[in-house]
Amino acid sequence: MILHGYAGKILWVDLNRMEVREKELDRDLLKLYLGGTGYAARILWDMLEAKIDPLGPENLLIAATGPLTGTLCPSSGSIEFCFKSPLTGIFGEARAGGTFGPKLKFAGYDFIVIGGKSEKPVYLYVGDGYAELRDATHLWRKNVHETTDIILRDLDEPDASVACIGQAGENQVRFASIMVDYDRAAGRCGGGTVMGTKKLKAIAVNGHGAISAAKPDEFFDAALDAINAIKIRATKGMGEHGTLGGLTALNESGALPTRNFKTCYFEEAEKVSGQTLSERYLIKKRSCFGCPIGCGRYIQVSAGKYQTPPHEGAEYETVNMLGVQSMIDDLEAIIKAGYLCNIYGLDTISAGNVIAFAIEAYERGIITDKDTDGIKLRWGDPEVIMTLIEKIVNKEGIGRLLAEGVKSASERLGKGSEEFACHGKGLEIPAHDTRGTAKSLVIQYAIGNPRGACHIEPIWAPMWDFSKVDMGLRKYGLPWPPPSRFEETGVRRGEAYKLLAFFGELAGILGICRFPLLAAEDQNLNLDRLSTLTTTLTGFDLKPQDLLRISERVYNLKRCFNVREGVDRRSDRLPKRVMEPLISGPTKGVKVENLDGMLDEFYDAVGWDRETGIPRKEKLIELGLEDVANEIWKSRSSKQEE
């Protein structure tokens, strides 16, 4: 029987033995997890022993697509990488757009699972129903763009897609990214680091097959309906000036974090806005596979000190973290810094965060000229950014410390630097703030499920309490109207965040970008549309409630993975910096007052034990995760009985 919507196979790669083999997808697991990060989470739960070294050969790197990947469903050009993170020590996932995911499915594989460690540099080639490991000695020490160029030339397949690492991954910087199609980043959690430890320089895929729908005509109609709903956002919304288009509005709302999260207001915001980018540096808009929004910016600084070749870059997170965060108002310098991170394969968010941390530590005398080899780490100085990027990538001088991530760096420095090391569970906080943006981010960053403090996985929760957009979730129980973004407890935050998280989790499971979810229900992929698309594609009966049930299962499984690594309520914390009052701008004085109250409300809503923050045994059994429940609660039940 054909599995509609899937390629049907998993590619297993053992780098210890240099072996590649195929396995069929497990239908029973598909019914429970559907695909994408859900199916991958189950593989990681089953295959990884607790507490393994993420830098060791026993770690697995999974490239995951979902049923919607590569189809006519809008924004389906998705690839999710899942692994145990060398940055956080918990579940790691990072997504990129581009064409890699679709090409993988067209080649006949839904997933690639890579374990072991090669002795010499290799890359994996995946063609139609075929894969092999190839020597990559000639690619080692090459940057991302060079590597991609060489592979495409050697293959003589200009339509292949390449995911690779740069020097940051080779050098095992803890926040090295996996770069797809030159400039699309699976940035977070150190997926590139895992590739580096395995001596896996790249994965090149090129497939020419097809994906079929169970009900082709109905699926086509549903996809055209969705494309038509979303396409307005190409010109009015994220597509118009890219993700950077919202920067000035965030600033006016006091929601633009700067100066290592001391304030959410930047006087020079206009200089680094999406409008400025469009006027001066935009060559054209570029979309990922299947995307009607097209937030990608093909840009260039054509002359001057910060000249770059044409490339895709300057999205909001990068501009904020590598620029605004360190009070830099020179957009050309920020574009260059982002370009450097892209070619070296360095996560721009973590890099920007740890650089701002270093500047503050220097200001306070915790880092001195001796540590920096005489470089003055000043706010607003682009040369500091350029220099520190190079030092981090090459682990030179102070870069060796910063390459470990902000959590480790602050623990080693001590002297109170932990208080302004802005991370959740070891993942550097991105460019949306707990106080300036919305209190929904307090829960999201503190819970940090699955990957630590992240603004977008599982979802950009402030759609609810900042943007006041229900995304079609009101009829599925999203509390409405939303409270003020600054209110904390007693305003149904727990219930709201539960539904928002489950909704967002679906994007990773189904194998699509999260952006098409983030809009009003007449302009987004809402639950009803997702239900129609997945049902007509796969032939499984997937009502909106069924989809939410699957994502609830996946969300809980990922939490259990993290619990097994030592996460519990005590780790659901935030550093002092993002709790204390903001010092200026429209949100001056806003602080986080009752973290624990908000956590209690969330644990209650989601069925997790208040005392420990662990999913309750009954909840896990109800979700069909009895074996997981037994393992998680095995060591604890005896303690509870005492």
Partner: protein, 153 residues
């Protein structure tokens, strides 16, 4: 008036939805290789462009078994699949790389304008692909061909 398929290339973002719509319309599957329109992206240059049949008809004479004809209603090239022997002569004859062979059936893939209601146009989210009266379409065609004469410095 007869209509023509044209592209307004400044608008194309390279999303590939036209390719999937084409294969879905003709074969009920989503496949960029079974599409009759092909999106080309040049990574180091600002080029995202759908390449498709301009209905010039050079392939008609190239076919050794007379499998390629023109539909008088739409003006589109029609491949009679039962006759096609997959020799590739039409692919060779096409100056634009718009013709190809279906990897599944080994028959020629040439745009038939979906009988006058092109699926690619319906799926294009940025209106880069248009199916316009021939007279208006010609204005866009002129713009596109004028670029071939642009001196790039």
């Amino acid at each position: 008036m007869i209509k023509s398929l044209v592209v307004i290339p400044d608008r194309c973002m390279g999303c590939h939805l036209c390719e999937l719509a084409c294969s879905q319309e003709h074969y009920g599957v989503m496949s960029i290789e079974r599409s009759r329109i092909h999106v080309v992206r040049l990574h180091h240059q600002p080029v995202d462009a759908p390449i498709f049949c301009l209905q010039c008809g050079l392939c008609i004479a190239s076919c050794p078994v007379n499998a390629v004809k023109r539909d008088p209603k739409t003006g589109a090239i029609m491949v009679q699949e039962e006759r096609c022997i997959g020799c590739g002569n039409c692919v060779h004859a096409c100056p634009y790389g718009a013709a190809s062979l279906d990897p599944a059936t080994k028959k020629a893939l040439i745009c038939d304008l979906c009988g006058g209601d092109p699926a690619c146009v319906k799926a294009c989210p940025v209106d880069a692909l248009k199916y316009l009266d021939a007279d208006l379409a010609a204005k866009y065609k002129r713009i596109n061909f004028s670029r071939l004469q642009t001196v790039v410095r």
